[in-house]
Symmetry: none
Subunit: 246 residues, 2 copies
């Protein structure tokens, strides 16, 4: 059934990581998709030639991630309907979001510069504060007027020169021009009041409600590539989220 699940004890990769990967692949396979029980821990640890403790490390992570459930006295089983949840929800760039809604976009401002990063940005990228990085400022909206102000900062390793075509959808451009694939997006959404600067940019009164979004973008290896701040006029933008319990 499982058979050739062998773990390389000489590998540099920790055993519990190897085991986790193996199990991930295992429970993806057709036999396991329907809530079947795994072999019990003692047996499985023998099959994999690792200790039960180490195996439990791997299983714990999969339980955390919602792929497995355990029950005392019963066993460990694969959760049915694994990844059809918020994970599979695909996210888009602003241009894509808008064009998907049939809204034409106008760029009111587009400015590229090299700046010294603030502390939190340097720390997000894991670089020193004295290394200049690319800053991209964009003011965008409908033909009638702007409704979002973006500030983006990019990791030096992304390899942007500042000469790229920033009118194109950003993540498409990154992929084509530099082979960077934006994969993960973590976002924090909050509300604030327009200060003088934002009010002037968005052509709105000071004190108007603003939907503020911080976006942290990572590549396929979970390395940070972009730090993005977005200020949306609240009366012209709604953020939607759809999620599903597992």
């Amino acid at each position: 059934m499982i058979m050739k699940l062998k773990i390389d004890h000489k590998s540099q990769i920790p055993l519990h990581i190897q085991a986790e990967e193996l199990l991930r692949r295992l429970i993806e396979s057709p036999e396991y998709i329907d809530g079947k029980l795994l072999p019990n821990e003692v047996e499985l640890s023998k099959i994999l030639s690792i200790s039960r403790t180490t195996l439990r490390q791997s299983i714990n992570k999969l339980v955390y991630d919602g792929l497995l459930t355990r029950k005392k006295g019963v066993g460990t089983r694969v959760v049915e309907s694994k990844s059809l949840s918020s994970k599979s929800k695909n996210w888009m760039s602003f241009s894509q979001e808008m064009s998907a809604r049939g809204i034409p976009i106008k760029n009111f401002e587009l400015h590229v510069s090299w700046v010294l990063p603030e502390k939190r940005i340097a720390s997000f990228f894991g670089i020193k504060e004295d290394k200049k990085i690319l800053k991209l400022v964009r003011l965008r909206g409908r033909p009638e007027g702007p409704f979002v102000y973006f500030e983006s900062y990019f990791h030096p390793l992304v390899g942007l020169t500042g000469e790229e075509d920033y009118k194109a959808p950003l993540y498409e451009m990154l992929e084509k021009a530099h082979g960077i694939i934006a994969m993960i997006s973590k976002e924090e959404i909050s509300a604030l009041l327009a200060d003088e600067f934002i009010a002037e940019k968005l052509e709105t009164p000071i004190g108007a409600p603003i939907l503020f979004r911080k976006r942290f973008v990572y590549d396929i290896n979970e390395k940070p590539i972009e730090y993005n701040l977005g200020y949306y006029k609240a009366d012209s933008f709604v953020y939607t989220v759809e999620s599903r319990r597992e």
Copy 2:
């Protein structure tokens, strides 16, 4: 510094759970709120009179919940992020969100009534406007003061009588009492300014920024069961979303 963090070895509650709770309370305290290092694991395990292995179980969970970060050769530190957040992955009820972070919830107001639905609510539920539905109003927050005002409306078929225990986690109660399983949540998030009513409820000035969330909740068959409006004080709540391209 830590002192009287004592663990009861005779308690029925597992040691690693006790330790987890202690740490949750600890890192909520003023001294630890700013990314300070915890005592190292060996020392901490001595203080708590539990083994390092057991302690690591507790810490692992807090790391997974995003409250702590660890770095080899350095130590374990509290994540800096004063404000609460709501993760979209594996969505939960408000009570669950909060208790998962070890934050005590206080109900400032809790009021149930039968009302005629507004047109948009009736249309969401697919019912007539002359049929009364259950309205649940809740004002909740931390002991110091409220930070969110909820208005919930329920579909008649949910079968609520108004006599249920609304202090319990809502979706648990629905499941136990009426076999209703809340499955899908669609949310719209935007920003607005506190009007007189909201300002009074949330004990905040008129014109303060409010994070406004509409939540549409559906059961396992995608039938609408709840229409929910949430007004969050923006300075004490951040909405976080994590997504991944596939």
